[in-house]
């Protein structure tokens, strides 16, 4: 394949699509599938056929449309009309949606109200209005899609669809017109930081691998998303497999690697299936393999499937797992850039980081950096869950306040309850209480509050949630997931969990709380890897903001 062949493929797809006035995209993500999206897709297909609309209406499967709590979802795109999303669709509603596409039917009008009340939608109403969510709805309006821009528009399983929307064009330009060093510099200038949670500048990491001498180098995508409450990476891998592959190709060229590995969590069979399909399709078109686009650059990509170990999200443990060993971390330095997979210089980035690369190069570093704050550029995907009216997957500009995420996008707390805290970063993160709701969401601000950006899990807790209980939940997780290599983590997490148990059972004394605090700080300072170093965060942050809840449990027990 040559770069101009991409344009040929794109024109072919557009020639077919151009004739159809409307595109109805049925969400095919795990969440919507489990709410019955397959039946909806079948109903859409049948209705289009029955009503003789096949020439006008394209029915397809899309990636996650975001509002997972209200699925199944169907997105409607029509020439010259604003896009809209139908929610709570079933087979019967699907047939009525198609009926409105008949040339004789009145126009599909967005409801007059910009924000229909989602808390009590009258879905039984014969009118489709109750199912329509316009793009102006706050859930969509405050989002800013860079990584997920094509979600809802393209079919995740069609390479041609991705190419028709500009896919692989950024890679073609990089590999034919830029030097590896220039590619690294472009990433550096964009200000992109690692989306796995720690926020290390991506361009600096790339440059370190490029500069380190070595015959063989590797690129690894970390898709071992283990935080309970997080599914951003799963969505990116399932819905935009080619965007991840394109990011890895650009990275491979920029750092001088010939082989890449996608490490995917074993619990994500759909992601594995779609990535495998995408790799095969890209290989057939010559986008993977030897001498891509007729250049000297060759790149091979393989999938490695994890088998359920949270610690494998840590980069040195992940590399051990790729090598077929127990996923046990080791001391750094040497960093993977110096000595990684099989002792070779290795670049490891999170899959969301890789998914940022193609849009970054397509629009340029300056455009990428125009979104976000001074030190945190671009957007971040969050999995919004917990006690909220609207839960789902969102992509927001860095620097947005937590209040906007919770109350505008999330629609506030159900049942008239009060907001208590937002938990970010899962078992490695912390809680942010109501008084800090106006904090901008960026790496530094969240760290200053004792929480972290994390990989993107964001769980909202209401007034009925017990914070010590949440802390205990995470500590049980960490104690279970500790690999056992270093003592502070192996023993410390178990001891902390025991103390939290004692507190919850109201058997603790004030001295136990002091001990919990001291132990937390010790484990944080002395553990070998990120798992142990961050395991005390949920405890320390709830002690910081909700100490009175711990004290109350102790004094109630002693009374």
């Amino acid at each position: 394949m040559q770069p101009h062949d991409l344009q040929t493929i794109a024109s072919k797809v557009q020639a077919v699509r151009g004739k159809q006035r409307t595109r109805l995209m049925c969400c095919g993500s795990t969440a919507c599938l489990s709410s019955g999206a397959e039946a909806v897709r079948t109903a859409l297909d049948q209705a289009v056929k029955a009503q003789g609309l096949a020439a006008d209406v394209h029915v397809g499967t899309s990636g996650c449309l975001g509002l997972c709590g209200r699925g199944p979802l169907v997105r409607r795109e029509a020439d010259g009309e604003p896009a809209l999303t139908y929610h709570d669709v079933d087979a019967e509603v699907a047939a009525r949606i198609v009926a409105t596409e008949a040339p004789s039917a009145p126009d599909v009008a967005s409801p007059d109200v910009a924000s229909p009340d989602l808390t009590s939608p009258d879905v039984a109403s014969p009118d489709l209005t109750a199912h329509i969510l316009p793009e102006t709805h706050p859930f969509f309006a405050r989002q800013h899609k860079v990584v997920l821009a094509l979600n809802g528009t393209i079919d995740p399983e069609h390479l041609e669809d991705y190419i028709a929307h500009g896919g692989y064009a950024a890679f073609a330009r990089v590999v034919t017109t830029m030097s590896p060093a220039e590619a690294c510099d472009e990433v550096k200038r964009s200000g992109l930081r690692g989306r796995g949670g720690a926020g290390f500048p991506t361009g600096i990491k790339w440059r370190a691998v490029l500069d380190h001498p070595g015959e063989r180098k590797f690129v690894i995508a970390n898709g071992d998303e283990g935080d309970p409450g997080a599914y951003m990476d799963r969505t990116v891998m399932e819905d935009l497999p080619h965007q991840v592959i394109e990011g890895m190709l650009i990275a491979g060229y920029a750092v001088g690697a010939q082989q890449g590995y996608l490490y995917v969590r074993g619990e994500y069979p759909l992601a594995v299936k779609r990535l495998e399909k995408a790799i095969r399709a890209a290989g057939r078109q010559g986008l993977l393999g030897a001498n891509i686009f007729g250049t000297d650059f060759s790149f091979k990509l393989d999938i490695r499937i994890g088998a359920g170990a949270f610690v494998c999200g840590e980069e040195t443990a992940l590399m051990a797992s790729v090598e077929g060993s127990r996923g046990v971390p080791r001391m750094r330095p040497p960093y993977p850039a110096q000595s990684g997979l099989w002792g070779c210089p290795t670049l490891i980035n999170n899959v969301e980081t890789f998914a940022n690369i193609a849009p970054l190069f397509a629009g340029g570093a300056e455009k990428f950096a125009s979104v976000g704050t001074e030190k945190s550029k671009g957007t971040k995907i969050f999995a919004l869950a917990g006690k909220l009216n609207q839960t789902g997957l969102i992509e927001v500009p860095m620097g947005i306040t937590l209040r906007e995420i919770v109350f505008t996008i999330g629609g506030g707390i159900p049942d008239g309850k009060a907001f208590k805290a937002a938990q970010t970063g899962g078992p490695s993160g912390g809680c942010i209480p109501a008084e800090h709701l106006d904090t901008p969401v960026d790496y530094e601000s969240l760290r200053a509050l004792g929480a972290i950006m994390g990989s993107g899990g964001l769980i909202v807790l209401d007034e009925t949630s017990s914070m010590p209980d949440v802390a205990r939940f995470f500590m049980e997780f960490c104690a279970d997931e500790s690999c056992g290599k270093c003592v502070p983590c192996r023993v410390g997490t178990v001891q902390m969990h025991g103390l939290l148990d004692k507190i919850m059972q109201q058997r603790a004394t004030p001295a136990d709380i002091e001990k919990l605090q001291r132990l937390g700080e010790l484990v944080k300072r002395t553990s070998l890897c990120g798992l142990g170093q961050s395991a005390p965060n949920p405890v320390l942050s709830t002690l910081r903001y909700f100490r009175h809840e711990y004290d109350a449990l102790v004094s109630e027990g002693q009374a």
Partner: protein, 167 residues
């Protein structure tokens, strides 16, 4: 060593995975994944077989297999109910669902009932937090459950027998 495996047709896919990776030791995880997929669990014979074919010490195979949560060493029950214990599910009451199942069927989470009919396991996070609390019953993802709805649904898959008579 007597092996109950020789000639088992399910070994074919295991052999394929070994061959595909050139029988290299670093394919261990992938081969174990395939082995469990074919057999449902890793029996002692199967672990020995993998060690022999990959030319890896048995201790290493055992060490790797026991390190990762997804590998099991006992056969599963006829039906499986996986309860998600991710954060979103937990704050919405997934803990009560597990407790109800354990009490109703006299089984510990991670285990199988004495009659081998039902396995109850928990998952760390199945990544469908918008549907919390969620569970996977015989492969079907079910959204927004509570203890009662779960017991009803499990009773239905166990041949429609009322829950209290199912053991």
């Amino acid at each position: 060593m007597t092996s109950t495996l020789s000639g088992d047709p399910r070994l074919k896919s295991v052999d394929r995975a070994i061959k595909k990776n050139g029988a290299r030791g670093d394919a261990l995880l992938e081969v174990l994944n395939t082995a469990q997929e074919s057999f449902g669990y890793l029996s002692q014979d199967l672990i020995r077989y993998v060690a022999r074919e990959l030319h890896v010490p048995l201790a290493r195979v055992y060490g790797v297999a026991t390190f990762y949560h997804l590998f099991t060493f006992k056969p599963k029950g006829d039906h499986t109910c996986i309860v998600c214990l991710g954060t979103a599910c937990y704050v919405k009451g997934a803990g009560d669902i597990v407790a109800a199942l354990e009490a109703e069927y006299e089984v510990k989470s991670g285990g199988t009932t004495a009659d081998g009919r039902l396995s109850v396991t928990t998952a760390r996070c199945l990544g469908s937090c918008g549907l919390a609390p969620m569970l996977v019953l015989d492969g079907a993802v079910l959204a927004r459950n509570d203890a009662n709805s779960t017991l009803e649904r499990v009773a239905v898959v166990l041949d429609g027998t009322p829950a209290q008579e199912a053991d």
